[in-house]
């Protein structure tokens, strides 16, 4: 071996290696899609709602597509670290990502480094209304009682973070004279403990996420921000009955990079559609206490996202 010039050797090995690796791949790419595993970016930590959705969808569509969907958890910056990963990958249909309401919120006011138009939605998979939840033995029986107390004195509300939909809902009531004080708890466990331990009076959540506390009678909902009643809690008040019509639901969508071959987008969207119609997925929606009509197919997903962004834009709390 030529020890004096290791670079030359390495270079030729590299070229040889990459040629070998690329040659069949190029040929296949023209023949069929997907030609290799599709990276499924989850811009949130493992175990959370986005992660669970991705893993469930992955197992439902893998067989259909004939390839695997490795999950990449790339958390950070309200989902934008993962979105950067998606947007820096080539638009060849071999990378897709979970995109949720909170991440959409960071694009409000055109502040994000990318725009909604840079994304090609494959479908909105799940939508859950947010609501106020109190400890089961809290003194407020109805939302009217809570609201009356909030007008007299300060009520602490646990939220995921400032600037997101959670805070917007709270601010709407404060504009009507309530004194809700939003307190950010980024980690779900801390958020739940805050209300159960009495460090916050109310917590904003989605019913599916706190289901264990609801079923074990540790928490109960007191109002929901939705146009339609929450499944399983039809008797609970809706915010619009109390003068707040803003209702930004938590949603989780699947997106690809804009500019991907429309045929590839259509193939993947069709796979999503098939998965969404499956009994297994419908059971998942029911378990999560999500809207039964959560799923919005690719064709209507774009306008839905634009409409939600406009809603967030219009209600951005002034900092």
């Amino acid at each position: 071996m030529d020890d004096r010039n290791p670079n030359a050797l390495r270079r030729s090995l590299l070229i040889a290696g990459s040629t070998l690796a690329l040659a069949p791949r190029l040929a296949l790419a023209q023949a069929k899609y997907p030609s290799r595993p599709v990276d499924f970016v989850v811009p949130w930590g493992p175990g959370g709602g986005a992660d669970q959705l991705a893993r469930r969808l992955g197992s439902l569509i893998e067989k259909d597509l004939g390839t695997s969907l490795p999950i990449l958890n790339i958390a950070g910056a309200t989902g934008n670290t993962g979105m950067t990963k998606l947007l820096s990958a080539p638009p060849d249909g071999h990378t897709m990502a979970v995109f949720i309401a909170d991440t959409l919120g960071t694009l409000a006011g055109g502040k994000g480094r990318y725009k909604l138009a840079d994304l090609a939605p494959l479908g909105i998979m799940i939508r859950q209304p947010s609501g106020f939840f109190v400890k089961a033995d809290a003194k407020w029986k109805t939302f009217d009682e809570l609201l009356a107390d909030a007008k007299k004195g300060e009520i602490k509300v646990g939220i995921t973070g400032f600037g997101g939909p959670d805070e917007m809902h709270v601010v709407k009531f404060n504009e009507q004279g309530a004194k809700f004080r939003p307190v950010p708890f980024a980690k779900p466990g801390e958020r739940y403990a805050s209300v159960l331990g009495g460090h916050a009076d109310v917590v904003i959540e989605q019913a599916g996420d706190v289901r264990s506390f609801l079923d074990s009678k540790q928490m109960r909902p007191i109002v929901f921000f939705a146009d339609q009643p929450q499944v399983g809690y039809e008797s609970i008040a809706l915010a619009k009955q109390h003068g707040v019509t803003l209702a930004i639901s938590q949603f989780r969508a699947i997106v690809m990079r804009a500019g991907t071959d429309p045929k590839h987008v259509a193939t993947m969207a069709a796979a999503m559609d098939k998965a969404a119609q499956s009994a297994e997925f419908k059971k998942y929606l029911a378990d999560e206490l999500a809207f039964a009509d959560s799923y919005i197919p690719a064709a209507k997903a774009g306008p839905f996202l634009a409409e939600q962004l406009a809603l967030i834009d219009a209600n951005m709390p002034k900092s």
Partner: protein
């Protein structure tokens, strides 16, 4: 008595061939993921979760619980032998464990870590079984001011890690805290020190600082001396040691350390969001302020290993308490175990002790069996692992570097992280060279964000009233301990200086 018979049912559930195999698999997997710095214990449990979908609920919980338990041990091995903390909770093990290994006592250091894990794990398991319901209440008593106080206590332990110069230690700590502020602020979302660089927006992962400064930094330091093994250095790990375990008398002499740190581990473990890492740091801090042998801590004292390891393992039992009794996941790994419960249609909470008592006690039995199994596994791993140290150091170092880089990449699949880890390797090398301790730097980057978030949340929640930290009894008490621990060495140093200068002045006159 009812508890005992229930526990017996739990063991009966566990001791079936299939479940025992699952337990063994969980133990091995947990240890493997814990060894690799980027592949954290939480990540490992997540990767295992899909495999449990098709299992029965008992084996699923046994697998994840076993992984959780043994995942708190694996990183101790790499921390002690190679100065690579496999998990952030293993950082304090470096301070004494690696020092012992450098003296040629690697096997003994690992032996101490096993004993510590065994004692901490078993005691916390007993507490968990007996007191699950009353202890669960602690979890709810702690809010952000208390949490801030605990983390502050951990940061205050810096004075004991100062090595020769307290000033250098404080500079190192402040640099660590500064690094921790890089990125988008968690409460208000402001960009800090990002200089418009996308990769800085997400902050600098403490993992990169930790693995870079310790792992790569040490390799660079050793390389600069041409890998000449110092007399009695880490090069001869096995040869001279017949026994790897401390004697019973030695263990008994450290009973106060065991008691203190196990109790710390349980209590901190119960608090949601704290977990093994904070427990290990706080227990080490306690040891350095109140331990009998506090002067020797940081220079290869077994107390340091025992404090950190027994607290980290004890936190497992602690963290399972709020999960089972209230359905609140206190840490990343327990959040996944919660998911496994929910996937099988069982909701942890007060009712689970009645409705699914058998299952709860199977989890309890698993913790007991896993702690013991993990120690047996560790015991058999010690000797072959110490053999690695007999290989030429240059070759071992090459593997250490590869290991650090693979670990750093596995964490986020981000290439720019590799540059960051290399940069911190150089920084670690320079620190070592110019007498700055690395420990406070790493401590600052790990605990800094926790301290900041809890401080800010408290200020938001209590209308910017900073007195709550002192007027709330628990947080006030913890802060008083921390302040005393900080002030005492400072006062001593100042007094010594004044005294010395007086004498110096007195002499010529």
């Amino acid at each position: 008595m009812e508890i005992l018979s229930l526990l017996a049912t739990g063991f009966a559930q566990l001791f079936t061939p299939v479940n025992l195999m699952v337990l063994a698999a969980g133990l091995v997997l947990g240890m493997l993921v814990a060894v690799l710095p980027g592949l954290t214990l939480v990540m490992g449990v997540v990767l295992a979760l899909p495999f449990t979908y098709k299992m029965g609920v008992a084996p699923a919980l046994i697998l994840l619980t076993a992984m959780y338990v043994s995942g708190t041990y694996g990183g101790a091995i790499t921390a002690i032998l190679f100065r690579i903390p496999g998990e952030p909770m293993d950082v304090p093990l470096i301070w004494d464990g690696y020092e012992m290994a450098k003296r040629g006592e690697a096997a003994l250091a690992l032996g101490w870590s096993l004993v510590a894990a065994l004692v901490g794990g078993l005691v916390s398991a007993v507490v968990m079984v007996l007191l699950a319901k009353p202890v669960a209440g602690i979890a709810l008593a702690f809010s952000t001011p208390e949490f801030f106080a605990i983390v502050f206590f951990g940061l205050a332990s810096v004075v004991t890690l100062s090595g020769s110069s307290l000033a250098n230690a404080l500079i190192s700590l402040c640099l660590g805290l500064l690094i921790a502020t890089v990125g988008v602020d968690e409460v208000y979302g402001a960009d800090r020190f990002t200089f418009g660089q996308p990769f800085l927006q997400d902050g600098i992962e403490f993992l990169l600082v930790m693995v870079g400064a310790y792992g790569i930094g040490e390799v660079l330091t050793r390389m600069s001396t041409g890998f000449a093994a110092p007399e009695g250095g880490a090069g001869q790990g096995t040869g001279r040691f017949r026994t790897a375990f401390p004697s019973l008398a030695q263990i008994f002499a450290l009973k106060a350390t065991f008691a203190r740190s196990t109790a710390t581990g349980i209590v901190v473990g119960v608090v949601p969001g704290a977990g093994a890492t904070v427990s290990a740091f706080v227990a080490y801090g306690l040891e350095s302020q109140y331990g009998k042998n506090r002067a020797a801590l940081g220079s290869g004292a077994p107390e340091g290993i025992v404090a950190a390891k027994s607290a980290a393992t004890a936190s497992v039992g602690g963290a399972l308490v709020p999960l089972l009794a209230m359905g609140i996941p206190g840490s990343g790994a327990t959040a996944i175990i919660l998911a496994a419960f929910l996937l099988h249609g069982i909701q942890p909470g007060p009712q689970v002790f009645v409705a699914n008592a058998e299952l709860v006690y199977t989890v309890f039995a698993t913790v007991f069996a896993a702690v013991i199994g993990m120690c047996i596994l560790g015991y058999f791993a010690i000797r072959p692992l110490c053999k690695v140290l007999d290989a030429p150091e240059a070759i071992v170092s090459a593997f250490v570097v590869v290991f650090c880089f693979v670990g750093a990449f596995a964490a986020r699949n981000n290439l720019s992280d590799l540059n960051v880890i290399a940069a911190f390797g150089v920084l670690g090398f320079l620190f070592e060279r110019y007498g700055f301790p690395i420990a406070p730097l790493v401590l600052g980057t790990i605990l800094g964000p926790l301290a900041e978030t809890n401080f800010m949340t408290t200020m938001v929640s209590f209308d910017n009233d900073w007195t709550v930290f002192f007027t709330r009894p628990i947080s006030g008490g913890i802060l008083a301990f921390a302040a005393a621990g900080l002030a005492w060495p400072l006062a001593k140093a100042v007094w010594k200086r004044v005294h010395d200068s007086r004498r110096a002045h007195a002499r010529p006159g």
